[in-house]
């Protein structure tokens, strides 16, 4: 088993494997999105307090969760790359970053749209939204640092260290923002607290699964480009059918 593991962690094997997996992930993501939206809009009942507006959560909550998960996954890959000096992990980390940042943007955007009918304002400095904004800054810092170092090896390692420092900081930031928020009596509206309708839960989890599959598909597609760029001088790249034409 151990041998197989290392085999797939080499860019050469991974490139082909990723190419075969992407359509599957993309296809199932599309199906799950459709199913999730169907349940969310046609089966899940209207919420007593929030009316139809609550349906934003089917995209908002999965996007927020993804943005945080992806940062952790990215930091994990970065740490692996830094400790074991594996090239592929560092490439994965930099392939995940843009997707994570975009999920953060989606989460902020949908949060604002949900906030307008609920709070009467587009932006509320509540703990979750503020943390999400800071998370976006962390993603942007990672991407900017990686982009401004020309030498790939140094870029990978420097950005990895930043991601690790960031991931240690995320809980501290989250805690401090929450603390700050309670001090200022900020509004935190909970989704109609008592019990979520079963269909609502189903819709949310389906959407979350769809987001996961989508993120994996996009990250894999991006990492394939990165592998091509980094390894362009090697023989195996020259022998790829898509390069030979």
């Amino acid at each position: 088993m151990a041998i197989n593991w290392f085999k797939y962690s080499a860019p050469t094997t991974f490139y082909g494997l990723a190419g075969k997996m992407i359509p599957w992930f993309a296809f199932s993501a599309a199906i799950l999105f459709a199913v999730g939206l169907y349940i969310g809009f046609f089966i899940a009942p209207m919420d007593a307090q929030q009316g139809e507006f609550y349906r934003i959560i089917f995209i908002h909550v999965p996007a927020s969760m993804m943005s945080m998960f992806l940062y952790m996954v990215m930091a994990g890959y970065a740490a692996l790359g830094l400790i074991f000096n594996t090239r592929l992990s560092a490439m994965m980390a930099s392939a995940i970053a843009p997707t994570g940042a975009l999920f953060t943007v989606v989460s902020l955007w949908t949060g604002a749209l949900w906030g307008k009918p609920m709070w009467g304002t587009w932006w509320m400095w509540d703990a979750r939204m503020t943390s999400e904004l800071i998370l976006l800054f962390l993603y942007l810092g990672f991407i900017a640092l990686h982009a401004s170092i020309d030498e790939p090896r140094r870029a990978d390692r420097a950005a990895a260290l930043l991601a690790i420092v960031g991931s240690v900081n995320v809980p501290i930031i989250y805690f401090s923002v929450k603390w700050w928020n309670t001090l200022h009596q900020g509004a935190t509206i909970k989704f109609s607290g008592t019990s979520m309708h079963i269909a609502m839960q189903q819709a949310m989890f389906t959407m979350l699964a769809a987001c996961w599959l989508y993120a994996i598909a996009v990250a894999l597609a991006r990492v394939r480009s990165i592998i091509l760029e980094r390894e362009r001088n090697t023989v195996w790249i020259a022998e790829l059918p898509e390069v030979k034409q």
């Binding site: 900017a144 930043l162 420092v165 240690v168 501290i172 001090l183």
Partner: protein, 227 residues
């Protein structure tokens, strides 16, 4: 020949950086003037009502201190990097983290401490009460070293990069948010008659955490950047 201990080396680095700072006084003064100027601009921007200024004061002073320390961070390692001293530091027979700690300490004495000393004067411009000023100073005393320490990581990561200064702020500012929150929170707490112990002890905890981890992380960042 006498061998030096770890402590000797720490003292040596701090003394060296202080001497250098004294001979390049303009750099130190620029940071301080920047701080004073940014703080003085706020009343011009938002109007002179004292009640509002009093409420804003801790936030304004803290944010200005944050920006001012970003300004001086770019120089923390770059001069030593350009003239080769950093190479020699990495070859020192003591741990690099220790040398980094020395540089952080010197950086704080040169760019953090003057801000702390200047803060009460600026606080008076904003009509802060004596109590609030006292808490502000304690908060800054605990918080500015953290800014130097977290900033050092960013400075090490952006060493020798084009446009490093702006990038440095982009990397470091989000990481400094907890310091800002607890620092300003303490002043607000005392102004509304609450206890400041929890805020200040959280700041203290952050200081201890940074003291333990950031020198090592910065040393790793320097190794990455020097390769």
């Amino acid at each position: 020949m006498k061998k030096s201990s770890m402590l000797d080396l720490l003292v040596l680095v701090i003394r060296r950086d202080l001497v250098l700072a004294m001979r390049r006084r303009a750099d130190v003064l620029t940071t301080l003037v920047f701080f004073v100027m940014v703080v003085s601009l706020f009343p011009l921007g938002v109007g002179p009502e004292l009640s509002m200024l009093r409420k804003m004061a801790p936030g304004v002073l803290w944010v200005a201190a944050l920006l001012a320390s970003m300004l001086s961070l770019g120089r923390l390692f770059s001069a030593d990097y350009l003239d080769g001293t950093l190479e020699q530091m990495m070859l020192a027979p003591q741990s690099l983290s220790m040398l980094v700690l020395g540089k952080m300490a010197a950086h704080w004495m040169v760019s953090g401490l003057p801000l702390v000393l200047m803060a009460p004067v600026l606080g008076l411009q904003f009509d802060m009460s004596v109590q609030a000023l006292g808490v502000l100073i304690v908060g800054l005393l605990l918080g500015t070293p953290i800014l130097s320490m977290i900033g050092a990581i960013g400075a090490a990561l952006t060493l020798g990069l084009r446009g490093g200064g702006v990038l440095l702020s982009l990397l470091v500012l989000p990481l400094c948010i907890p310091v800002l929150i607890f620092g300003t929170g303490a002043v607000e707490a005392i102004s509304s008659g609450l206890s400041v112990v929890s805020h200040l002890s959280l700041l203290g905890a952050l200081l201890v955490l940074s003291f333990v981890f950031t020198p090592w992380v910065t040393a790793q960042a320097l190794r990455i950047s020097m390769e």
